[in-house]
Subunit: 121 residues, 2 copies
DNA sequence: CTGGATCCACCCCGATACTG
DNA sequence: CAGTATCGGGGTGGATCCAG
């Protein structure tokens, strides 16, 4: 594969393209949490105590712009916004799950103790 | 899974741990190229035209420190150094391959033209 | 409740020069 | 051929304040 251009950015391979879409500290954790249900902004934030407001917002914006999640705004007060996976987002869940499993295996390999049941990603 | 500490850095999940080990622009491409053969520094560099000397060197150092590759120095002139996968590095090839395949699928989904045969990663 | 905007510290990484 | 050291620009993300 020759390198290719997308959105004015140069990519050298498909893995890099994936990482630019769903990589970074928070995007996979967000997708993973939405895998089986719709969540409001505040609910999402509650399950990810360490993410800052700015990072959660910008991650959600980018995931939306890239077509992985959809944003549903309810015109009520106080505001209510729900996030859910799109078709593309649903398709990403498999590889995230595999990455997660590989991560546990790697951590065991490093001797890091893991309790993988109901572990967030 | 509660968050955990490794090497003085705080991780929130296993995916993040993986990405800190083999993420970034160049580490997976390096591992992928070493999947079936040992390569010298210069050979590696030749197949990755866009990586800078500094990034290739530092990526190799980190992969070595993290136990994914081993570095074999031959005491000759001119210098000869060979890089190859360790057991841990070999185990990483599967998930890289899956990530690569998902990447092609995602690119097709975006309408980006791909010729995936013998594509570098 | 959800979200946008600003300021700024930090770190990644490219360029360059030098070594055995 | 392979590797190290230094400098500096630019992007990433944290803290904070304001808004509908």
């Amino acid at each position: 594969m020759p390198e290719f251009l997308y959105n004015k950015k140069l990519y050298y391979n498909s893995v890099e393209f994936v990482m630019d879409r769903i990589g970074g500290t928070w995007k996979m954790p967000i997708l993973w949490r939405l895998r089986d249900k719709t969540l409001r902004y505040g609910e999402l934030k509650k399950t990810m105590p360490k993410v800052t407001h700015k990072m959660l917002t910008s991650s959600l914006r980018e995931l939306e712009a890239d077509g992985f999640i959809s944003r549903m705004v309810f015109p009520v007060v106080p505001p209510k916004v729900e996030y859910s996976l799109t078709e593309r987002g649903i398709k990403s869940i498999n590889i995230i799950g595999e990455l997660r499993q590989y991560g546990f295996q790697l951590m065991r390999d490093y001797g890091i103790d893991v309790a993988s049941e109901d572990s967030p990603v």
